[in-house]
């Protein structure tokens, strides 16, 4: 299949996931680019489900990025905190999602933003459908607590 067509068909969809995970546009742009470059370099024969294949690669890219940045973030923690205070307060729900752990964040994003079914999410994350169910329940519970607490 033509990679340019794949890109045009799915780039918005993949971007939604990446943006939901990092919540920063410039970062999401770079990660989208990294994701598709990985796809171009891979041999993409026998891909039956492009949607979940692309999301799996996007997910690896996001996690790699976090792993690489981890030390840098620790160094910049103080600076970032000061910066965050200056930025006008975002909507509560976005701040709530930001506070979720990556595992809970990604199920919420895949479900609510990418509109995937539980089985599809399970396939992308390589976990059981029952785990998706319980993680989503926990994620919603934490968001609810966060929203109640921030009022």
């Amino acid at each position: 299949m033509n990679i340019e067509k794949i890109f045009l068909d799915y780039s918005d969809y993949v971007f939604k996931y990446i943006y939901g995970m990092v919540q920063n546009r410039a970062e999401a742009d770079d990660l989208l680019q990294d994701t598709f470059i990985k796809v171009m370099k891979a041999s993409n024969k026998d891909i039956r489900n492009w949607k979940s294949y692309l999301l799996t690669i996007a997910r690896n890219t996001v996690y790699d990025h976090w792993r690489k940045r981890k030390n840098k973030y620790n160094l910049d923690l103080f600076k970032l905190k000061a910066k965050e205070r200056d930025i006008e307060l975002k909507l509560d729900i976005e701040r709530g999602i930001k506070k979720l752990s990556p595992k809970l964040k990604e199920v919420i994003i895949l479900r609510e933003i990418n509109k995937m079914e539980y089985q599809e999410i399970a396939d992308v994350l390589g976990i059981e459908k029952g785990t998706v169910k319980s993680r989503l329940s926990r994620a919603r519970d934490e968001l609810k607590d966060f929203l109640e607490g921030s009022k």
Binding site: S11, D29, Q33, I37, K41, I113, Y118, L136, L143
Partner: protein, 143 residues
């Protein structure tokens, strides 16, 4: 019925991921339980507000960089890979033609000697000469 049990079903309920039996359990329970009904309402509101988050589209610049990428690099990489493997193949075909028994041995006389003499407890290495080639065979154990 147990509120904790129902609470765990509520999230899957709003995702329409419950089977019929569980849907009935949830609906019967929230008819009677104000507390769980409130939680359900809150979960639904959370879903609605997540759906209303404005997700930007990838920037024009990023799209351009991705679409331009294959022409600049992937094809070049692929050409390089094809070229390199062709050269390796050609080398593998041509080099043996120029190699005689003498220069194999002379090229690396020391190594040849050591290999010839060394025996491990697990395997014996035998060398035989046949025409221009040196055949190697292993016996006396597995690696």
């Amino acid at each position: 019925m147990n509120c904790e049990y129902i609470k765990e079903l509520l999230s899957a309920y709003i995702d329409a991921e419950l089977d019929r039996a569980d849907i009935i359990k949830v609906e019967e329970h929230i008819e009677e339980c104000e507390k769980c009904k409130k939680i359900l309402k809150k979960y639904q509101n959370i879903s609605l507000s997540i759906c209303s988050i404005e997700i930007p589209k990838p920037s024009e610049k990023a799209i351009k960089r991705i679409i331009m990428f294959p022409k600049r690099k992937v094809y070049r990489l692929r050409k390089l890979a094809v070229g390199a493997s062709f050269l390796v193949l050609l080398g593998a075909l041509i080099i043996p033609l120029f190699q005689t028994e003498e220069n194999i041995v002379q090229e690396n006389p020391k190594e040849y000697y050591i290999l010839k003499e060394e025996k491990t407890p697990y395997a014996e290495v035998h060398y035989e000469r046949e025409g221009n080639f040196i055949l190697t065979s292993y016996s006396g154990g597995s690696f």
